[in-house]
Amino acid sequence: MKSFLDKVWSFLSSIKLAIVIFALVALTSIVGTVIEQQASYSENIRVLSSLVGQGLAPTAYKVLYALGFMNMYRSWWFLTLLSLFAVNLLVCSIDRFPAIWRIMRAPVKPIAHDQMKRMPIKEEFVSPGSPDSWLEKSVSAMKSIGFTARTEKEAGGPVQLFAQKHAWSRSGVYVAHISILVILIGALVGVFFGFRGYVDLPEGYTANIVYSNDMDMSDPGQVARRESLLGALYSEGGDLQKAAQSLNESLPGYEKDLRSVGVIPLDFQVLCQQFQVQFYGQTDMPKAYRSLITVLENGKPVVTKWIEVNHPLKYKGVMFYQSSFRLRHDLSNGVAIMDVRSPSGQTETLKMKVGQSFSIPGTKETVRLAKFNPALAFDDQGHAETYSQLMTNPAVKVDITGPDGAQSSKWIVQRYPETWSLPDGSSIGLTDFWGVQATGLQVRKDPGVWIVYLGCILLALGLYVAFFMSHKKIWVRLAPDKKGTLFTVAATCPKNRHAFEREIEKMVTHLKGGN
């Protein structure tokens, strides 16, 4: 029985298994990058058609689907492979630890003369002067390359100096291996205690739920359940408590149901006050975009922060990342924010909806906000058109009625201040058209991320030590000789031997030649 356990143990700790796992993970992952993961049927049929031809694509799809390749990084066999990898690492580390520990703790000891000559680095030469006269010099020569030598007298006269450096660097490989386990643990913590969601918030809107990224939308039953649970919430104006009551459920029970269909309730609310996008020059390439987000607890604001790409907001362990933006389909609730300046320089900020009118202070003109265009362009005939689905070039059209009743109209374009001035010297500057853009936020909670980062630090340190540091041992033997002292130098070093040999050369020059 023991021998069977031994076999299992040595199988699980073998490098051979590690190598097989490396190859399997690499090969299967290749398939996973060719098949688009978690994509629709038609998408992957298209991909497969271009690879194996239209005729074979449905069959190929069926086979790959049955094998779990459509969502392979979460398939049972891939997770099994990763678990086996983790077990392999763990068992291998446990198996090797005692040996590594012994090597790290073992002091250097003097070795026999003929054993020195079999070391990978060795040198022998004679220098004038007695061994005794060389002793102190030898110690300081070794010190000069960083070794603190101990001395021992051999029977019959010869003296041996010996030292070692960086014995602990043997643990580098070990640390690197353990760190991968740490990273995997961190990833598991994230999977079990965190979530990955998103929410799309128009300016002025508040949310207390977010939608999971991991919801499988291909199951019609789930989707229908989700609709009905969300329907209850909408009809109660977003109040979770009341929605639960309307379904005759307790609040925790209702929240649990929501989670099961990919809707994650937050225990606070987030409000998007404003969204802004800035472009490079007058191009349509976004340079920066940001949202002014307020966190509310029971309707009372607690935190307000501008978030932008690479600068998220963190509240109660939940992170809000700026990820995208869009224009709402319905532009009718938008409010133009305008700086209106009279000919005499008096300014006033106005907030107006399309259809409303105002007068410019100090003049007898009335201005009516006739139209809003989020991306104004003119076609060949000079007709206004909308050239993109984003607010790339916002403009408002104003109809101006003069004191004499004369009518004129004009486009005021936010990007082009030269369009702001009116003939009588007053001006209408468009600063924003609020309420028509929506900000796309990724919402994450991942309590495991710090464990992952710790693992990353350990991995970097472990690999650095494993590849760039090395456990060096050195022996110098001084024996009396007819012409003075016979030096025997021997050293071992598992890595970067050439660099160490050069150091030893440096030391040896101190020991060669006259006393």
């Binding site: 690499a26 990955r196 920066a288 992170m319 990724q442 991320v449 991995l459």
Partner: protein, 360 residues
């Protein structure tokens, strides 16, 4: 743009250096060797100047901080940086080991990489950064990744040379492996050359390259052209396979010990692996976490980095097993670099053409 002139100059210098290094191997004249080194140093200097100039141009254009304006944001710039690292590494090696033989292998890699820029017709314009790319982590990520790619490129050339030197029998697996690999490599480059000749006038952006890649050969609209392309590739592979011994003669001619080649292969992987782990995987994950809140999402680029990492882990560990010395392990090292190339180019140019996210 001032910088493009110096890029052109450095490209020419590297191509000339390649020719002279090869002549040097053949004749072993000191003067020839010095000329080759001179050309390489000149090319390197003008490339350095060009990178600095482009940095300045980018800085002036973007109006962002000086660090954020490092020219390392698109395919063109990163290839330039890769070549720069490779040449720096090579020149250091040449001066330290006083050996010019590798020049004949490293300068072609540099020249091919730069020619690839011309052949693929990718955009060399300075492009402003989209918000997600405005991160210092990204900078560290890209810089270190490319340093590690250069180390892997070195291990690839020495690994390949090891295979060339140690194989002879045309029916042997390792021989077939390297000849097929070299043949396909050459064929793909030629196919890109064809694309260039056909579409050069219109070529602009990376998306464009993606849409037209191999359209004059393997992906042509005409099935005759497609068949001919595959047949020509097969013929080329056959030629390399049939006459591979000539290459062996050339390389054995300049006294490269197989053991030295094996050691350099291992050493450059040993340098590349930790840098790739830190820069490619860890910094990439930190950046992704800052930008989107997920440090790992199994997207094709990340997955291919992981595949690359596992192949090199395979390499490192297989060395500890009996029976995995020599040719077998050299094949793993060369496969590792194929994965590197695919991580960098294949994901952008091939996979994203296949998937819908590429066209979005």
């Amino acid at each position: 743009m001032e910088s493009s002139r110096f890029f052109g100059l450095s490209e020419m210098a590297y191509i000339l250096a390649m020719v002279v290094y090869v002549i040097h191997i053949a004749f072993r004249k000191k003067a020839v060797g010095v000329t080759a080194t001179g050309l390489a140093v000149f090319g390197f200097a003008s490339q350095t100047l060009a990178i600095l100039l482009r940095w300045r141009e980018f800085y002036l254009l973007s109006g962002m901080g000086i660090l954020r304006s490092i020219p390392l944001t698109n395919l063109f710039e990163s290839i330039i940086f890769f070549v720069w690292c490779l040449m720096l590494g090579y020149l250091i090696m040449e001066f330290r080991y006083k050996n010019r033989s590798f020049g004949a292998f490293v300068t072609p890699v540099a020249a091919v990489a730069l020619l690839f820029i011309n052949l693929s017709g990718m955009s060399t314009q300075i492009e402003p950064l989209v918000p997600a790319l405005q991160s210092n982590w990204l900078l560290a990520h890209v810089t270190l990744s490319f340093i590690s790619y250069s180390a892997f490129a070195l291990s690839f050339s020495t690994g390949l040379m090891y295979l060339i030197v140690t194989t002879e029998d045309r029916r042997e697996g390792a021989y077939i492996f390297w000849t097929v690999m070299l043949g396909i490599f050459a064929a793909v480059l030629m196919a890109m050359g064809l694309d260039y000749i056909r579409f050069s006038s219109a070529m602009k952006s990376e998306t464009f390259v993606r849409d037209f890649l191999f359209k004059s050969s393997y992906e042509s609209g005409s099935s005759a052209v497609r068949v001919i392309s595959y047949a020509a590739t097969a013929a080329l592979v056959f030629l390399v396979w049939r006459f591979g011994y000539i290459l062996k003669k050339v390389i054995t001619g300049f006294n490269m010990q197989a053991a030295t080649l094996d050691e350099i292969t291992y050493k450059s992987v040993a340098v590349g692996f930790p840098i790739f782990t830190l820069g490619g995987l860890i910094f990439g994950a930190i950046w992704a976490n800052q930008a989107w809140g997920v440090y790992w999402s199994w997207d094709p680029k990340e997955t291919w980095s992981l595949i690359t990492w596992f192949i090199y882990a395979f390499y490192l560990h297989a060395r500890f097993l009996r029976g995995w010395k020599g040719r077998k392990i050299a094949m793993v090292a060369t496969m590792g670099f194929v994965a590197v190339i695919f991580t960098y180019l294949g994901v952008n140019l091939l996979l994203s053409g296949l998937h819908s996210y590429g066209s979005r």
